[in-house]
Structure formats: structure tokens, C-alpha cells
């Protein structure tokens, strides 16, 4: 539906946010809901400042981010590497087909028992859970993207004497597959963030764990502070990624 008056998109978006917060503020204030169950936004800055001053907020954020970055990095590297190998080699594709079909449907969180047994409830365990989820997404995106590369471009490399697999990979396959690979990486950015929070809810220190502590103390304002923290961190990563992707793919029409 078109609005009768023309607002710039940014203004409309800001207005929407304002209405959202106004409604949120009104509900507990007018006693429509119990402020204990739903803290008003105006109560959040104080809760945030207190948490910040104690140093816990920064510690939690740093820990969560380190799980996130390492898990994401490990998952992306392995996913891209194996996706390329299986994408370039028919033998690897055939050999891995049933293994992939067997392991693929297992949700990342189903690996929690083994994460605990192998690594314990610690950073390594969290990284493992995160990396498993990221790996599959990036592996399939990379494999598909490598297989979909235009054969005509591969032929160009051949015509100019780039016949070895390594040259074919770096001159043609990787740059041509990069847009598809990045689609997978972006999907895994959100997936990994969920895995961070999930693994911390299981007890690994970080924002997820701190949020659960706040919840057991019924500090709902603190719970909301951490929810917004998660949203902000994810938003930061996603927009950073989009900027990087825009630069990497600046050759696209």
C-alpha cells in the first residue's frame, strides 16, 4: 500500500522504531503488563550502565565474540576448502556422497553431547558446535558454486595454458564461485550467532550465559539488555560483512 504522504525511507523506518518503543514503554507504564515481566525501555539504560561499570558486560561480549569469530572462521575455512575439493573432483564427490547424506541432516545442536564429552563446557566446545553448523552451510554453497562455474570460462584458462588444477582454481573457479560462496557465508553468519547463544545457554561463559543468570535472578531488564546486545552485535557483523561483500563483488553489474 502506498502512503498518501511521501516519506523518505529512513524517516519512515525511524518513525516505525519510535512507535515500537513508545508502545513498549506504554504497556508496563499503564500497568497493562507487570513491569517485572516486561521491563520498560526507559529502565534499560540504567541496567546497562550498571552492567557496563561492573565490567561484566564487556567480558561477556568479548567471550561471545571470540567463540563467534573462531567458530565461524574454522567452519568457513573447512567448508570452503572441502567444498572446493568436492566441487573440483568427481572422485571426491562420489566418495563423499553418502557420508554427506548421513551427517548432513544432524542438527548442529545435536552435537552438544559430543562437544561436552570431547571438549567440555568451554570455549572449545562452543567453537565446535558453531563450526559444525557453519561448515555444512558453507560446504554446500561452495560445492554448488564451484560446480556451477561457466565451463566457457574454464576453457578460456585452458586456451591460455592454465591447465593445472591449482591454476584453474585460482584463475577461474574461486573468483567465479565467490558470489555463491559469500551467500553461504552470510547465511552462516546468522546461524553461527544462534549457535553462540545456544552453546552459552548450555553453560559456556558469554552473553548467553549471563542472560540466563539474569533470568534466574528475575532481572528481566538485564535480560533485555543482553537481548539487545545480541541484536546489535549481529547487526554489526552483518553490515560489516555486507560492506566487505560489496567491495569484493564490485565487479558485478
Amino acid at each position: 500500500m502506498r502512503l498518501p504522504l511521501k516519506l523518505p525511507r529512513a524517516v519512515a523506518a525511524g518513525l516505525g522504531l519510535l512507535v515500537f518503543f513508545a508502545l513498549w514503554e506504554a504497556l508496563p507504564r499503564l500497568d497493562v503488563v507487570n513491569p517485572m515481566l516486561m521491563p520498560a525501555p526507559s529502565s534499560l539504560p540504567a541496567a546497562f550502565m550498571k552492567e557496563l561499570r561492573s565490567g561484566i558486560w564487556l567480558d561477556s561480549v568479548v567471550m561471545s565474540l571470540s567463540h563467534y569469530v573462531v567458530g565461524l572462521g574454522v567452519g568457513v575455512l573447512l567448508g570452503v576448502a572441502l567444498g572446493i575439493v568436492v566441487g573440483m573432483s568427481d572422485a571426491a564427490e562420489a566418495g563423499s556422497a553418502w557420508v554427506v547424506r548421513l551427517l548432513r541432516p544432524i542438527p548442529g545442536l545435536a552435537w552438544v553431547p559430543f562437544a561436552i564429552i570431547w571438549f567440555g563446557v568451554n570455549a572449545e566446545g562452543a567453537v565446535f558446535i558453531i563450526a559444525v553448523g557453519v561448515f555444512w552451510i558453507v560446504f554446500f554453497a561452495t560445492n554448488g558454486a564451484v560446480r556451477a562455474v561457466d565451463r566457457d570460462l574454464v576453457e578460456v584458462a585452458q586456451a591460455f595454458g592454465f591447465t593445472r588444477p591449482w591454476a584453474r582454481l585460482w584463475k577461474i573457479l574461486f573468483p567465479a564461485a565467490l558470489p555463491g560462496i559469500l551467500v553461504g557465508v552470510r547465511t552462516s553468519l546468522g546461524q553461527a550467532w544462534m549457535a553462540v547463544v545456544a552453546s552459552e545457554i548450555f553453560g559456556v561463559p558469554g552473553v548467553g550465559q549471563r542472560m540466563m543468570q539474569a533470568s534466574s535472578l528475575l532481572s528481566t531488564d538485564l535480560v533485555v539488555v543482553y537481548m539487545l546486545t545480541m541484536a546489535a552485535l549481529y547487526g554489526l557483523f552483518d553490515s560489516g560483512f555486507m560492506a566487505a561483500q560489496g567491495w569484493l563483488l564490485r565487479w558485478k553489474p
Binding site: 566457457d152 570460462l153 576453457e155 586456451a159 591460455f160 592454465f162 567465479a176 565467490l178 564490485r250 565487479w251
Partner: protein, 248 residues
């Protein structure tokens, strides 16, 4: 000198043998501008692919001179330019040079010189998608010329272009041929185009494809496009080739 001796190419399609070229013999002296014409599917592209090392002969052989240092003996220009979209124009031209042992500065200056040669020196930093079809084809030509091949293979390189760009590029190609003395194998399905550029025209026909006619075009360059002389030449070629049953 290119020597094609008893060349046959056979494709295996679902276990069925499909002979595309059969017992072809052709000698192409160095420096010749040879046009290859023939109906679609006769095996023109296949012939070029064999010469470029992209396809293997089923029988016989195609001998091309080996490369000199810092050069590639044969370079191919495709019908569609096939630029690499993630590389800028200059870097596309330098592509083939990356395999030859040359310092980066040399590669770039050689690529820039080739771009200047095809008249696109000013567009070096553009992306391929920012070019017109004719400009893209010029870049593809510069990319092939950059490796300083003795033999330039061109597979219907101008057929996708509008008439104005096509005629401009034909004249430019003749100019480059005259300036460099390269051997050029130019595949086209357009007899008038062949007559305008080539010094020899070989026609392929039949299934499997073989040489049905081989004719020298003596007229000196620059040749006129219009006028009785040009029309006459094309008419003679058409008659020669029995162009009535020549479907593109």
C-alpha cells in the same frame, strides 16, 4: 607454418561415434590470413579447438610451431568475448601473460600497449560489464594479441556485433595483420566478410566435414566494401562455393 595432416575428429556421444572432421589436409604458410567458411555444425570451431589444444584429434595431427620464450604460439578469440567479469579490462588483457615468466610491470605495460592498439587504452580500469559488445570483443582481441602469438585463431569473432562495429573491427584486424605479419585463421559464416579480410578462403562442407574449396584472394588491401569490384568478388566466391545450398 601450420600443417594439418589426415586430421579426423570423432566425438563420443552416448557411446555413438560422431565423426566431425575426416581426413583433413591443409598447409597454412606463416603470415597467411586464412578465412574458413562453412555451414554451421561442419566442424569449424572444432578445427580451431584442435589447433588451440582444447580438443584432441581422433586421427592424424595438427602441427603448429612451438612457442618462443615469453610468448604463446597460438591464441584463440572466441565468438563471445569471454572476458573474466571479476577482472578489470587491463587485467583481462594481461591474463595470458601471467603464465609467461614476466615481471608484473612488464605484463601491465604490454597489456596497456595492446589495449592502445585496439583503441581502448582509455578504458583500462573499467569492468567488462561496463563495455559495449564491440568493445568487449576488442578487449578479447587485445588479450589474445598480448601473448604475442604467431598464430591467431578467431572463431566467428565479429558475428554477434552490429554492422558498424563489425566493419570497423574487420578493417582494424587487417591493419593489425599487416603490421604484425601474424598467421590468422578466421572462422566466419559470412562470405562477404571473408572476402573483405582474407588472403585465402577455405570452405568446409559435408558430413563429416572436409575441404570443399580452397581459393586465394589476390586483391590488395584496403579493399572496397561497395562498388562493382567488391560485389564481383563476392559473387564469384559464392558461385565458386555453390552458395545456393549454403545455409548459415
Amino acid at each position: 607454418m601450420i600443417r594439418i595432416e589426415g586430421l579426423s575428429v570423432v566425438f563420443d556421444r552416448d557411446g555413438q561415434k560422431n565423426t566431425v572432421l575426416e581426413n583433413m589436409n591443409l598447409d597454412i604458410p606463416a603470415g597467411q590470413f586464412l578465412a574458413i567458411v562453412g555451414p554451421s555444425g561442419v566442424g569449424k570451431s572444432t578445427l580451431l579447438r584442435v589447433l588451440a589444444g582444447l580438443a584432441k584429434p581422433g586421427a592424424g595431427r595438427a602441427v603448429v610451431p612451438g612457442p618462443a620464450a615469453g610468448r604463446q604460439s597460438v591464441a584463440l578469440v572466441f565468438q563471445d568475448a569471454r572476458l573474466l567479469p571479476w577482472r578489470r579490462v587491463l587485467s583481462n588483457v594481461a591474463f595470458g601473460l601471467e603464465r609467461l615468466a614476466l615481471p608484473r610491470a612488464d605484463r601491465m605495460s604490454r597489456a596497456q600497449a595492446m589495449l592502445d592498439l585496439v583503441g581502448l587504452g582509455a578504458l583500462a580500469q573499467r569492468w567488462p560489464h561496463q563495455l559495449s559488445g564491440g568493445q568487449r570483443q576488442r578487449v578479447a582481441l587485445a588479450r589474445a594479441l598480448a601473448v604475442e602469438p604467431e598464430i591467431l585463431l578467431m572463431d566467428e569473432p565479429f558475428s554477434a556485433l552490429d554492422a558498424v562495429s563489425r566493419e570497423g573491427l574487420q578493417d582494424e584486424l587487417v591493419r593489425i595483420w599487416q603490421a604484425t605479419g601474424k598467421t590468422i585463421l578466421f572462422v566466419t559464416h559470412d562470405i562477404a566478410e571473408a572476402a573483405h579480410v582474407a588472403s585465402r578462403i577455405v570452405m568446409l562442407g559435408g558430413t563429416p566435414g572436409r575441404i570443399t574449396s580452397d581459393r586465394v584472394v589476390a586483391e590488395a588491401h584496403p579493399r572496397l566494401r561497395a562498388g562493382p569490384g567488391a560485389a564481383d568478388l563476392v559473387a564469384r566466391l559464392r558461385a565458386d562455393f555453390g552458395a545456393e545450398d549454403f545455409s548459415i
